[in-house]
Amino acid sequence: MLHRERVEKEYLPLYREIGLGTTIWSPLASGLLSGKYAKGIPPGSRATLPGYEWLRKNTITSENVEKAKQLEPIARDMGCTLAQLALAWCLKNPNVSTVITGASRPEQVSENMKALEVAPKLDSDLLEQVEVILGNKPQQGQE
């Protein structure tokens, strides 16, 4: 949701011309799109690990945290978590072959897997609502 230029624009010729698929990674932006950083950085989270200072600097920005907060109500209305919404959103892209998830706890794997049931519910109206909040749709055109 937060890094779209490559997957949705730059790689288009690769899908089209040589038929590559993508195995996309960090779909939850290191947990940011699970909403866990909405109230600051919790102890034990990835952002507190040594060597991951870049995460705080580049990903857990106030702008991104704000986007995550605004997406929460959409997830709530759909009866799912924000993380499930974010994963389901990735699944809607036909050029995505697989969404690589990560987890530091087994329960997170179980929760993430439920995104499979959320994806079919993500209709065009909901996608448009998400788009308005994200406000980062890559401009198509010159490649």
């Binding site: 730059e10 010729p13 690769l14 899908y15 011309e17 040589i18 038929g19 590559l20 698929g21 993508t22 195995t23 990674w25 960090s26 290191s30 990835r46 690990l49 991951y52 994963l87 699944l91 995505v96 072959s97 697989t98 969404v99 690589i100 998830t101 990560g102 987890a103 530091s104 706890r105 087994p106 997170q108 794997v109 179980s110 993430n112 897997m113 995104a115 499979l116 994806a119 490649e143």
Partner: protein
């Protein structure tokens, strides 16, 4: 696993083809970046992988550089421990491209210096459209989109004995360079 359980498992997940390569991957997959060998040890990792597999996940991702090689080793150990049929899973890993010195960069350096990792022992299928490799060689696309792109597609049956020097050697031997096409 009984046949009924297997069928049920496959119903829960859709499988998509990895582009023209045609390999079928579960829509959701499990990766080991940051977690395996870092935030989580083998005990938790085995639970995570089992839950994923039981849901229908068939694709697991790692890389040589994750947790200084520990992520690959943990994943490889778990494959061995759980004894999943090899044909049921697809594994990707990525060549580490780094190093600051003139002899520490690139495939050749890695081939000779890399310690044996356990992941490759278990890979009869391994694929990688390595985003890390792409990221380090990419330049903005111009009128000739593929000029400086280097994309590795690794596919092969790793035989025992071929990985004495680790995953990388086997990867290199099996790597088909698709980039630099124009």
């Amino acid at each position: 696993m009984t046949f009924a359980v297997f069928v049920d498992r496959c119903r829960r997940v859709n499988y998509r083809r990895l582009g023209a390569a045609g390999l079928k991957l579960s829509e959701l997959s499990l990766g080991s970046w940051v977690t395996f060998g870092g935030q989580v040890g083998e005990e938790v990792a085995v639970k995570c992988m089992s839950i994923a597999y039981d849901t229908g996940v068939n694709f697991f991702d790692s890389a040589e550089a994750y947790a200084d090689g520990k992520a690959e080793i943990i994943m490889g150990n778990i494959f061995k421990k759980l004894g999943w049929p090899r044909e049921n899973i697809v594994v990707s890993s990525k060549v580490f491209w780094g190093g600051d010195g003139p002899t520490t960069k690139g495939c050749l350096a890695n081939t000779s210096s890399r310690p044996a990792a356990s992941l490759s022992n278990d890979c009869s299928w391994s694929i990688s459209t390595s985003s890390s490799v792409i990221a380090q060689t990419r330049t903005p696309l111009s009128k000739k989109p593929f000029v400086r792109w280097t994309i590795w597609f690794i596919r092969g049956r790793y035989s025992t004995g071929a990985h004495q020097n680790g995953a990388l050697r086997t990867s290199c031997e099996r790597t088909l360079l698709l980039g630099n096409m124009i």
